[in-house]
């Protein structure tokens, strides 16, 4: 059973948006996580997939693992990405599902949404769209997704149970999640869980 965390949701969302707006606009700045092509290599994304991508598509990538390790998505599938950022995983997903498939990325940070929309234009994809929204209240119809993907985002919600309720709501029967996120190998003190600075850094 998930234990509620005493944190100001609006303040946390604001801090996260500030952080990720910087990742979108100044990816070279250097953060407490790795970014871009070096990160994609670290996570095992195939070079033949990432090398052709224009730099803006990959430079703001800030995932934590590789959700495609369980296999590529299938042609024709409808995919929802939670926390789509600048669109790196969404672009790869769109290439995998092809012209008969569809990818809907959801993100709450306007700077990331703007960059993601520009990025799909750069690679000539028309089967991807991005919507502004929160992972606890996905702007997605019930039972409409074959796959929900995400990479390093759910850990940023203090109400993870709500996120998973939303995931179950938007998935079609028989649909699946293929995600990546973080686990901690040492106990996190309760005080740290309530410190917004530690959520974002």
């Amino acid at each position: 059973m998930a234990v509620p965390i005493n944190v100001d949701m609006q303040a946390l969302r604001s801090a996260i948006q500030d952080e990720y707006a910087e990742v979108a606009t100044t990816p070279e700045k250097g953060f407490h996580f790795h970014t871009g092509r070096p990160l994609a290599r670290l996570l095992g994304y195939p070079a033949e997939v990432t090398d052709p991508l224009p730099e803006p598509v990959i430079e703001s990538f800030a995932g934590v693992a590789n959700p495609f390790i369980f296999g590529e998505l299938q042609p024709g599938e409808t995919v929802v990405e939670i926390g789509s950022g600048a669109g790196f995983d969404a672009v790869l997903a769109a290439q995998q599902v092809g012209a008969t498939g569809r990818v809907i990325g959801v993100d709450m940070t306007p700077a990331m949404l703007a960059k993601a929309r520009a990025n799909v234009g750069r690679v000539g994809l028309i089967n991807v769209e991005f919507r502004r929204g929160y992972m606890e209240e996905l702007p997605i119809n019930d039972a409409s997704a074959d796959v929900v993907i995400s990479n390093g985002v759910i850990n940023l919600s203090p109400d993870k149970a709500a996120v998973f309720r939303e995931i179950a709501r938007v998935l079609k029967p028989g649909g699946r999640v293929q995600m990546a996120d973080i686990v901690v190998t040492r106990a996190v003190p309760e005080a740290a869980k309530e410190n917004i600075d530690l959520w974002t850094g």
Binding site: F31, H32, A65, A168, M179, I182, V183, V184, T185, G201
Partner: protein
């Protein structure tokens, strides 16, 4: 996370055996590294009715 997925009815939950050390040696200091944070992939399925 496994318990939360199962609580909403997802089944066949599987975590990757591979873990990624995605915070060590990052450009800025991180509390994530202090907590031994690792990246992991996972999947689960929503049962058919």
């Amino acid at each position: 996370m496994q318990a939360m997925m199962q609580a909403v009815g997802l089944v066949d939950v599987e975590f990757s055996s591979k873990r990624w050390d995605t915070f060590s040696d990052a450009p800025s200091a991180s509390s994530a590294a202090a907590f031994g944070t690792q990246g992991v992939a996972f999947r689960a399925v929503k049962p058919r009715r």
